[in-house]
């Protein structure tokens, strides 16, 4: 083999890489925060609201879970402009990601809330706790403990999935790769480096979230 690897050419772009990491993390955190809010509302509707509203939420969840994120992104970014709503690429990216995560979060939150047995809630009432107190101490905390691992792995998946926003020219970490590639022509080295950066991010997030879980729920 005559190819000489030149990682230095790629690593010289470290400020661009760092910027890309920042954008990727920001996208993931914003999408998770927004998605979680949708998830809490969606799950509450599915569990406590009237059937027509429930059907709306179920249709939303099924529509999102059975279509690719890339197509959802294209509909928000390219599609909405056809019907008169033009969004900037970063805004469209955040909206599409939130809508996407919201559906998965709805399922996770619902499963978490359902996991608290009825008898526990009745026991709470029997102890004279108010409705709010029962929700706060009997339902919410154990449910959070149930949801946390699922939400953490959802976050890690999301962190990696944000890479598709580069396809509508949002300057995230993956977009940085194509810029460096077009300037250095170091195809293999670029994707090897980007891959390792993503891997580091994913492993760090997983370890960090595991620590948070230990700290918040470990001693209960």
């Amino acid at each position: 083999m005559t190819y000489v690897f030149q990682f230095r050419d790629v690593l010289a772009y470290w400020p661009a890489l760092l910027h890309g990491v920042g954008v990727t993390l920001l996208l993931a955190v914003a999408a998770m925060a927004g998605g979680l809010m949708i998830g809490i509302v969606g799950a509450s509707v599915q569990l406590y609201a009237r059937p027509p509203l429930r059907l709306v939420v179920t249709s939303y969840v099924e529509a999102i879970r059975n279509t690719p994120l890339l197509i959802q992104l294209f509909i928000v970014f390219f599609g909405l402009s056809q019907i008169g709503l033009r969004l900037d690429a970063p805004v469209a990216a955040v909206v599409a990601l939130i809508v996407n995560v919201g559906a998965y979060a709805t399922e996770i939150v619902r499963a978490g809330l359902q996991a608290v047995p009825r008898t526990q809630i009745e026991a709470g009432h029997a102890l004279g706790l108010s409705g709010y107190q029962v929700f706060r101490h009997v339902v919410l905390v154990p449910a959070l403990k149930m949801m946390f691992p699922a939400l953490s792995s959802q976050f890690t998946l999301l962190l990696l999935a944000t890479s598709v926003v580069s396809l509508i020219s949002v300057e995230d970490l993956f977009h940085t790769a194509s810029i460096i590639q077009s300037r250095t022509f170091r195809d293999f080295e670029v994707y090897a480096v980007i891959g390792i950066v993503y891997l580091t991010l994913a492993l760090t997030c997983r370890a960090g979230l595991a620590l948070v879980y230990q700290g918040a729920f470990g001693r209960r």
Binding site: Y3, L69, F78, G79, L160, S163, A177, G195
Partner: protein
């Protein structure tokens, strides 16, 4: 030339759908083969072999699928294997699927109680025969619902093959958009087609899961 999105475009999209299905099938087959090997590696008696299986899973699951697709498409050429979009996409998706299927199947194997292995051993079966005749038949039932669920994930992920110019449903949608300038109509149609492929599988996975829990 700009033209209206018409019935013929829907037919073109449906025709492109077979490449989405073909890519999904190849990736599932390749992923199943490698994934089964990875799952078995993680039950080895040798610690380094177990470690290799775990490291592979982490490595693949820790990177976005796009990195695998682009890395293989642009990267393999420098090792003397210039590959086209079809080969690059099916290799990348196979690798990606193998890590997830390997993990699903490892979980299914772990779900079978230790005593079943011992029962096999007491019948004089070797380790491989225990796996083949005692553990796998039971683990299959546990593994089927999540495997079907992952197949849905895989079908959706084939949309990323469009990025290296492989003409499947998403790519055909982009071409149609360029000709008609009706992105909303086109991508909604594309979304409906994906939904029609994925939703029945999602339902099947759910039904299988319920049956599994009912049987216990």
């Amino acid at each position: 030339m700009i033209r209206q999105f018409a019935w013929i475009d829907v037919m073109f999209l449906v025709a492109a759908l077979r490449w989405t299905l073909a890519l999904s099938a190849v990736a599932f087959a390749g992923g199943a083969l490698i994934g089964a090997a990875v799952a078995v590696l993680r039950f080895s008696r040798l610690a380094p072999v177990r470690f290799a299986g775990a490291a592979y899973t982490q490595l693949v699951q820790g990177m976005p699928l796009l990195v695998w697709i682009f890395g293989l498409y642009f990267g393999l050429a420098i090792f003397g294997f210039p590959v086209g979009p079809w080969t690059a996409a099916s290799c990348a998706l196979s690798v990606y699927a193998s890590a997830y299927l390997g993990e699903i199947w490892r979980g299914a194997l772990l779900a079978i109680p230790r005593t079943q292995w011992e029962a096999g051993a007491s019948l004089g079966l070797g380790q491989f025969s225990q796996l083949r005749y005692v553990i796998v038949p039971q683990a299959l039932r546990v593994a089927t619902p999540p495997t079907v669920g992952f197949l849905v994930q895989l079908i959706k992920d084939t949309s990323l093959a469009s990025t290296i110019g492989f003409v499947e449903l998403t790519r055909e949608g982009q071409t149609t958009t360029a000709a008609t300038f009706q992105p909303f109509t086109v991508y909604m149609t594309v979304a409906v087609l994906y939904f029609l492929m994925c939703f029945p599988l999602t339902q099947l996975s759910r039904r299988l899961e319920r049956r599994l829990h009912g049987a216990r």
